[in-house]
Amino acid sequence: MGSLFDFMLPELESPLTGASTDAVMAFIHIVSFIILAGVTIALIYFAIKYKRKSEDDETPLITHNNKLEITWSVIPLLLVFIVFGWGYKGWLNLQTPPDNAYEIHVSAYKWGWTFSYENGAQIGNEVHVPAGRPVKLVMQSQDVLHSFFVPDYRIKQDVLPNRYTTVWFQAEEEGESQVFCTEYCGTSHSDMLATVVAHTQEDFEAWLDEQNTGGGGTPVERGESLVSIQGCVTCHSVDGSQKIGPSFQGLFGREETMTNGTTLTADENYIRESILNPSAKIVEGYQNQMVSYEGRLSDDDISDIIEYIKTLED
């Protein structure tokens, strides 16, 4: 049986994200196979055993059997509840990156991927990650929908042009895994491939140091200069002092209460929304005064500002 599943699925390189998926898939395959075999055998057996002998064959009147109906409704119902709970648990784990995850930014475009690191390094169609450590990808698209899929890790997440999506994994061994784009995006959709290269922690750091950080400094440095150049600091302090708008200090991850009474945790999408559509959510105690920065800040600019805000801890 084990070899059958090896044939069905690629070798699992990220057990933390994929082990539950493999287990529930095996369970469904086995149960389905048993039921399918039962149905098939019954069909063949009945077809032979009750083959028509003459045109005048008489058949008994059997209209229904409530006990049987209830049995074959309730048993499958219980089975699907098990499967639902199992799948839900595995999926919840996929939605919850560990706190210590190493973060890499992903930008998808027709037809390729750009991966950006904390030190400003950028690399196309190849993402280098440390093995044995959770890695979180924060992704956005520059044009249409794409989807980031690594079969070896059993992870997949659509990449959208108007918001960030995240996905995480932990490659346990050194090695390479295939990345596919799985949301149809035009002519070269099927060539929009990338590779994940997992290194040991030391090799990874060495690799990262070698990378050319390019002009303009790290994202954090660029973000710092942007909040100054764009005038954000006129209204938002970076040291916690009270100004027209909420301070940037400690903003990321802070729980905020809105004027409509709801609360939320400030994350990438909240900050992005507040920059592009400031009137959508107003923090309690503040006025709706800010203008939209739509068209004034590019997606990359916004990402850099968010990275900068993340560094401003309480």
Binding site: L36, V39, A47, R52, L61, T63, E69, L145, S190
Partner: protein, 567 residues
């Protein structure tokens, strides 16, 4: 002279009617085919049987187009990278294959083609409730098709049949022509659904209570409800998309301030129930055929009838399971997964009831029955893999891979198309008055079964291994699966050609079918083959249910005794 106590649909109160036996003629002189002749008579006919045949002709034509596209796609996939067409052409082909098969073949195949033909006959009615509306539905379908073909001649379409934004907003292909075509086509579907609902409510022959309604009609009734309620949402969606493209109104495209995930919600709000528009009528055919060829009362009449309605209603609440990786909210994802499992249960109940019907039957493996057996095997696989895809963690891995492609072909082709073939072979003698060659038909059914599984079983494996769908190019490890799949598709192609050949031949030189070649108790078989213009030459009266095989045939050929009072 006999009497029967029945409840006519028109009054609802019990009445005693004088009935007598009308044995249908085995060699009818006047039939609906000889009644009005010539092209103009066909084009302006309001006869539900002729309209059904016109749909059958159109569906066959579109199936040929969609099928050729499928074979070209599979041929291209024989090797990685380019085999004989360019990537852009490939993208157009899979888009058109999907759009044509879904909108022009599967959705109208059973309800509009076979349903139109048999629905009034199974009710003992002369026609549908609104015959002119029925003809209008057909022409609306044709106009929708013309718009789509204008797109073909004019830049094609490369968005996938799902039209996902913002790709479809930005694509340079003829999105607007196709969306207008689909918009128009939707009205055909809505009007047919309305017509069927009215007909089933108002035109049942004396004695056909809801408990004696053939299961085929319960299935068509459930389908009609979905058509009427869901199709308008598709119309709104494609209209909004057209407005976005033509007028630049930002609804779905983020560049214009819209939200692409909203489009997916709108699209699947229709397109998931549309899966049941395709699948539920298939269930109806299976119930008819399996009872006829096992000469046995259906097992669990109400379980099958009501599960069709349950599927129709729950089917409206599961659209979000197409969007587990889309970035929709976590709560929505959880709820949609849960509801998806619930819709699997009534479907499973049906399959087990059909199998139980065979128990102690008198089973004859004629061609329609072979298709039913194929259906039960293939559709079960479609159902189990549906459970797999409803499972959240598994779907994350399998979404948008060939596993999904295989799954929906097992459901749509293995379910709908194979039961359509079962229905076509079952009612062919009634429609044409001719028998096809049984041996060739069995060979055809075997080719379809073998070809189908050879084509799509390997797709489960490669999808599970990570092969994404809508890929022109692929990495080498998938080559063997693609090649096996392509060989399977050629076997399927040969199977369909054989079917077309012997059916066409039967029209010319087929043996006379006689009124009831299968010995069915169904009302549509208690008249001549082919039927006359008004279906029955008397008002049928029904005292037994359509599956009462324990009652003698004499009790099924009854009509009102007083002939002079209209029939």
């Amino acid at each position: 002279m006999l009497t029967a106590e029945v409840k006519p649909a028109s009054t609802g109160t019990k009445k005693t009617l004088k009935v007598k036996r009308y044995k249908p003629s085995e060699d009818p002189k006047n039939t609906y085919l000889t009644d009005e002749k010539g092209l103009w008579a066909w084009m302006t006919t309001v006869d539900h049987k002729k309209i059904g045949l016109m749909y059958l002709g159109s569906v066959t034509f579109f199936f040929l187009v969609g099928g050729i596209l499928a074979l070209l796609l599979r041929t291209e996939l024989l090797t990685p990278a380019k085999t004989f067409i360019e990537a852009d052409t490939y993208n157009q082909f899979f888009t058109l294959h999907g759009a044509i098969m879904v909108f022009f073949v599967l959705i109208p195949s059973i309800p509009a083609a076979l349903g139109n033909f048999v629905l009034p006959m199974q009710l003992g009615a002369k026609d549908v409730a609104f015959p002119r509306l029925n003809l209008a539905s057909f022409y609306i379908y044709v106009i929708g098709a013309i718009f789509t073909f204008i797109a073909l001649a004019n830049n094609g379409l490369d968005t996938g049949w799902t039209f996902y934004t913002p790709y479809s907003t930005q694509s340079s292909s003829s999105v607007i022509w196709v969306t207008i075509g689909v918009f128009i086509l939707g009205f055909s579907s809505i009007l047919t659904g309305t017509n069927f609902i009215a007909t089933i409510h108002k035109l049942r022959a004396p004695g056909i209570t809801w408990g004696k309604l053939p299961l085929n009609l319960w299935a068509l009734y459930a389908t009609s409800i979905i058509q009427v309620l869901a199709t308008p949402v598709l119309a709104i969606t494609v209209l909004l998309l057209t407005m976005e493209r033509a007028l630049g109104i930002g609804i779905f495209d983020p560049a214009l301030g819209g939200d692409p995930v909203l489009f997916q919600h709108f699209f699947w709000f229709y397109s998931h129930p549309a899966v049941y528009i395709m699948a539920v009528p298939a269930f109806g055919i299976i119930s008819e055929v399996i009872t006829t060829f096992s000469k046995k009362h259906i097992f669990g009449y109400w379980a099958i009838a009501l599960s069709s309605l349950a599927i129709a209603f729950i089917g409206f609440l599961v659209w979000g399971h197409h969007m587990f990786t889309s970035g929709q909210s976590a709560v929505a994802t959880t709820v949609f997964s849960f509801l998806t499992f619930l819709v699997g249960i009534p479907t499973g109940i049906k399959v087990l009831n059909w199998v139980a019907t065979l128990y102690k039957g008198s089973i004859e493996m004629k061609t329609p029955m072979i298709y039913v057996f194929s259906f039960l095997f293939i559709f079960s696989i479609g159902g189990f893999t549906g459970i797999m895809l409803g499972t959240l963690s598994a779907d994350i891995h399998l979404h948008d891979t060939y596993y999904v492609v295989a799954h929906f072909h097992y459901v749509m082709m293995g379910g709908t198309l194979i039961s359509f073939l079962a229905g076509l072979h079952y009612w062919w003698p009634k429609m044409t008055g001719k028998m096809y060659n049984e041996f060739q038909a069995k060979v055809g059914a075997a080719l379809i079964f073998i070809g189908f599984n050879t084509t799509f079983l390997p797709q489960f494996i490669m999808g599970s291994q990570g092969m994404p769908r809508r890929y022109y190019n692929y990495i080498d490890q998938f080559t063997i699966f693609h090649q096996t799949s392509t060989i399977g598709s050629y076997i399927l192609g040969v199977g369909f050609l054989l079917i077309a050949y012997y059916l066409a031949k039967s029209l010319k030189s087929g043996e006379k079918a006689g009124s009831n070649p299968w010995g069915s108790r169904g009302l549509e078989w208690q008249t001549t083959s082919p039927p006359d213009f008004h279906n029955f030459d008397h008002t049928p009266v029904v005292i037994n249910g359509p599956y009462d095989y324990h009652r003698p045939m004499e009790e099924f050929q009854l009509g009102l005794a007083n002939e002079d009072k209209d029939h």
